[in-house]
Symmetry: C2
Subunit: 215 residues, 2 copies
């Protein structure tokens, strides 16, 4: 089959689309609050969100990029709260063929959720304990998962190397990200304050952290 | 293991989180431009985006909901341009155990992309032809995929029952959604105009279309 006639005027070269996109983002976005490494994370998150204004709410701890990249290079797993995030991580960008782990659909989850009287997303976090030490965590869906993680760490669970905390929504989301920013364990974090967030933002942050080259 | 002490004041009952979320959305969002069925789609997309203002850019064709629901009830497949969307479709909501098809990682795609001098996302759309007749399409990533779909239809490809067109980004995204809205084939559409969109919005629209009950 041949390509049908092109009826619209649009760029169809993938590399050129990326170059123009990132060029527009760097022209329009206010990246003044970010160092050069953090700015590359912000640019990719803006790209995923289609909105340069997310920088208003984006906070990146000064050690976040180095901590997450160091962990990934040394083979740390990535723990996520939603299958969509796992699906959005570009495996070829990972520096050490890192495992991407989502426990949401583990058999044990419904029972734990019932026993703990909490959401399945939060219950799934209790299954992270064996993988948590030095891991890179990304929470893009459930505020309860982020609260649960902080509570497990407070109760003595191993500490991850870095936490991308971008749960989305209208109930608990903003509060959970404030709690992460205020975490007393010195764990470097990335948050998008307020209600916005989601799997696409979480995956884009992970993809930016995974490879140092911007494209 | 017991649940560790709760350190934060948050709602951890999943059903209650949904009820409060949807309540807040219906209180704050301007849904006046939508009929009752379209409003349920808008509410779920707002929920996924964490932003009530997406209604400013959301356009839902008057036949979209009926066309998509009718197609899904009769067993039509769902065609998507990104694995993240496929991953975000809640299978238990689907009325007829509908297939969710993403061709992006098919073996043939890189060759077609090279021959057609286009993106892999657009090339993958050329592999939809056998499934396209009466299907529900959701494009949440690549503007080139949406342009390619419209061009294939113009060249005689089978027509889908409905198109959710929410590609995201800074190059071609806004233009591709205008092209979809202006489609001369009377295919019912849903678009979020401008740069915003993405897999989460696409998946939430599909999940809302899949089940008539709001929750």
């Amino acid at each position: 089959m041949n390509r049908p006639p092109k009826l619209y005027d649009y760029v169809d070269d993938g590399a050129e689309i990326y170059r123009r996109s990132f060029g527009t983002i760097r022209e329009e976005a206010d990246l003044s609050g970010f160092g050069p490494d953090a700015a590359t994370i912000a640019v990719r998150m803006i790209h995923a969100a289609g909105d340069v204004r997310i920088t208003d709410d984006l906070r990146i701890h000064p050690d976040l990029v180095a901590a997450a990249r160091g962990a990934l290079r040394s083979g740390a797993p990535i723990l996520v709260d939603a299958t969509m995030i796992a699906s959005g991580v570009t495996r070829s960008r990972l520096p050490a063929d890192n495992q991407v782990i989502c426990r949401l659909h583990d058999q044990a989850v419904p029972t734990i959720a019932r026993d703990w009287r909490t959401t399945r997303s939060a219950a799934a976090v209790s299954l992270w304990l064996d993988d948590l030490d030095g891991a890179v965590v990304a929470i893009g869906n459930a505020p309860t998962a982020l609260f649960q993680l902080l509570e497990l760490i407070d109760a003595g669970a191993p500490r991850p190397a870095a936490i991308v905390g971008v749960p989305v929504g209208f109930v608990g989301s903003a509060e959970s990200k404030k709690a992460l920013e205020a975490n007393p364990y010195d764990i470097p974090y990335l948050v998008v304050h307020g209600r916005r967030g989601g799997s696409a933002m979480a995956a884009s942050a992970l993809n930016a952290l995974a490879r140092e080259a911007e494209l």
